[in-house]
């Protein structure tokens, strides 16, 4: 098949370029790695004019998608009880309150984000410090236990009183938003790590603020809708039996989230088994042991599905981990290794990574375990990993400055002369196929 456009003299050379080159006919190339360092090259990035609007729309959609992560769950009951507790006013008044609440959330989130991105550089280190991680996981577990029915979630009495008395005004809603932004921020951090790195790379606080603000607006929009409806939530008929089951399901999702956060702190095998165990136990609890009276066939079907899903997820997780082949053999950084690579005429890949960074793990687990990538790396490359999990290694710090690394993950490609190919630099996860293309480009093929 071909594209039909009605041209008469159309030919195809099936062997094309390789044969052409072999016969010594004229060729040209657009090198990825400019031989001389021309640092002043400025790509028209997605930060000007109409492109900015599209970027922001994308970021907004990303914020909406963040609602799929259970990080937002803790905000839901608080939002409902805050707005539900207010005296019934006009719809317009409620809308303004909700809007102020949303803006308050967004302001806190974006201030935190920008500050973290611009001051820390490697802000993930702060957000993913073991103490913070354990704290977030603990909050998730506590909320999960509430969903399981061990205790009833209620706002602290002081907060409720404050909300019903002095902070009732418009400022109150704004203030609530400002405060609660702190709850969601650390949990969402790992999912927007790429964005943080990007903002740090742009180096503009104003642009960073706009981007994070848009993200938080997207994140908060469902909460805004919830606030609008929570006034009338009390009038809903009493929840049926099935709602209890859904609550337990949510509880398990929160527990899985907690396990996901704790995983980087554990040895790899333990992390995999922990997640697998959570999936299996969730299936067992929701599917087999659950004694909710079967109100209809739908619930029975759901239970069966939950049981099966738990088993399937656990099997896939543990199975694919066990069946995985060898990964790329990384070497720690040393100047002599770099010099040796240059002498051998080998290109170098330097991966700046940390255990706590989700995209780094993804890169390692998927791309750097892909058989073709592993083979090519072993044959033609010198692979260097710089581990930034712990701060304060002077050698790593020097490398960060030297290569202007703004965050993790960052993957650098050095050509065989030891020059970095700036076009090829990666700051996010990349699937194996395009990664192979970059490897070829760095090797100058």
């Amino acid at each position: 098949m071909a594209v039909q456009l009605g041209y008469e003299n159309v030919y195809r050379d099936p062997v094309g370029f390789p044969a052409w080159k072999e016969q010594g006919l004229p060729v040209a190339a657009t090198p990825w790695c400019p031989p001389e360092g021309d640092g002043s090259e400025s790509c028209p990035g997605p930060t000007s004019g109409l492109a900015l609007v599209w970027t922001l729309l994308g970021v907004f959609a990303g914020g909406l998608a963040l609602n799929l992560t259970p990080c937002v769950y803790p905000l839901i009951p608080i939002t409902v009880s805050y707005f539900g507790g207010q005296s019934p006013g006009s719809k317009a008044r409620l809308a303004v309150h909700g809007l102020l609440y949303l803006v308050g959330l967004a302001v806190t989130n974006s201030l935190l984000g920008v500050a973290a991105a611009l001051t820390g550089g490697l802000m993930g280190a702060a957000l993913q410090h073991p103490v913070v991680v354990v704290g977030v996981a603990l909050v998730l577990v506590i909320f999960a236990s509430s969903l399981f029915g061990f205790w009833e979630l209620r706002l602290p009495a002081g907060l409720t009183r404050a909300a019903s008395r002095s902070y009732m005004g418009y400022f109150g809603a704004f203030f609530m938003g400002l405060t609660l932004g702190v709850v969601a921020a650390p949990c969402i951090g790992p999912f927007v790590l790429g964005l943080l790195t990007w903002v740090a790379g742009q180096g503009s606080a104003w642009l960073g603020f706009i981007v994070f603000f848009t993200l938080s607006l997207g994140l908060g929009t469902p909460l805004f809708v919830l606030a609008l409806f929570s006034g009338s939530l009390d009038r809903l008929p009493r929840s049926g039996e099935w709602l209890l089951w859904v609550r337990r399901l949510m509880g398990w999702v929160l527990l899985a989230m907690a396990a996901y956060f704790l995983r980087p702190l554990l040895p790899q095998a333990w992390g995999v088994f922990l997640l697998g165990a959570v999936a299996l136990l969730a299936g067992l609890h929701l599917g087999v042991l659950d004694r909710t009276a079967a109100v209809g066939r739908a619930l029975a079907g759901l239970k069966g599905a939950a049981w099966m899903a738990g088993i399937i997820i656990a099997t896939l997780m543990i199975g694919s981990w066990a069946l995985r082949g060898p990964g790329v053999a990384w070497q720690p950084y040393s100047d002599s290794l770099l010099a040796q690579a240059q002498k051998l005429g080998k290109p170098v890949i330097i991966d700046f990574a940390a255990d706590w960074c989700a995209p780094c793990r993804e890169l390692e687990d998927i791309t750097f375990h892909h058989p073709q990538v592993v083979e090519k790396a072993a044959k033609a490359f010198v692979m260097i990993k710089v581990d930034l999990t712990r701060k304060g290694n002077p050698q790593s710090q020097a490398l960060l400055v030297r290569y202007q690394v703004k965050g993790v993950p960052t993957v650098l490609f050095l050509d065989k002369n030891g020059q970095e190919c700036k076009d090829l630099r990666l700051v996010d996860f990349l699937p194996p196929e395009p990664f192979l293309a970059r490897m070829d480009a760095a090797a100058g093929k």
Partner: protein, 120 residues
């Protein structure tokens, strides 16, 4: 849930997951090299002719002005090295890729329907 049903569902789930794992991890068959016959048949179906590298080279050196060379490989392949004077136009070998390429390709080739165009 009755015990018997639980066990049956568990077995079904294990089978499904095991199957999926097997599919994902079985050794991949070596990619089939297209034979000359395949290429010829494809050209006939697509309504274009084939040209050998030798002939193309001759024409290229005789009258480079009247010849439009289109490089349909991936962008990074083009960057790594291409025939001098060729234009890059990455084309996905799928129906969707061809449909999407129609308009920009027409713009690239220009209004002259008789001009000599060579893809590779």
């Amino acid at each position: 849930m009755p015990l018997k049903r639980s066990i049956l569902l568990a077995l079904a789930a294990l089978l499904l997951a095991g199957g999926a794992l097997w599919v994902a991890h079985r050794p991949a068959p070596p990619p089939r090299q297209a034979t000359l016959e395949d290429v010829r048949r494809e050209a006939e179906a697509g309504g274009y002719r084939l040209i050998t590298t030798a002939e193309l080279g001759q024409r290229y050196q005789q009258e480079p002005a009247g010849l439009l060379l289109v490089d349909t490989r991936q962008d990074w392949e083009y960057r790594a090295g291409h025939i001098k004077g060729a234009v890059s136009f990455p084309l996905e070998p799928s129906a969707w890729g061809r449909w999407r390429a129609k308009k920009p390709l027409a713009a690239l080739l220009g209004p002259d329907k008789n001009r000599l165009v060579v893809f590779y």
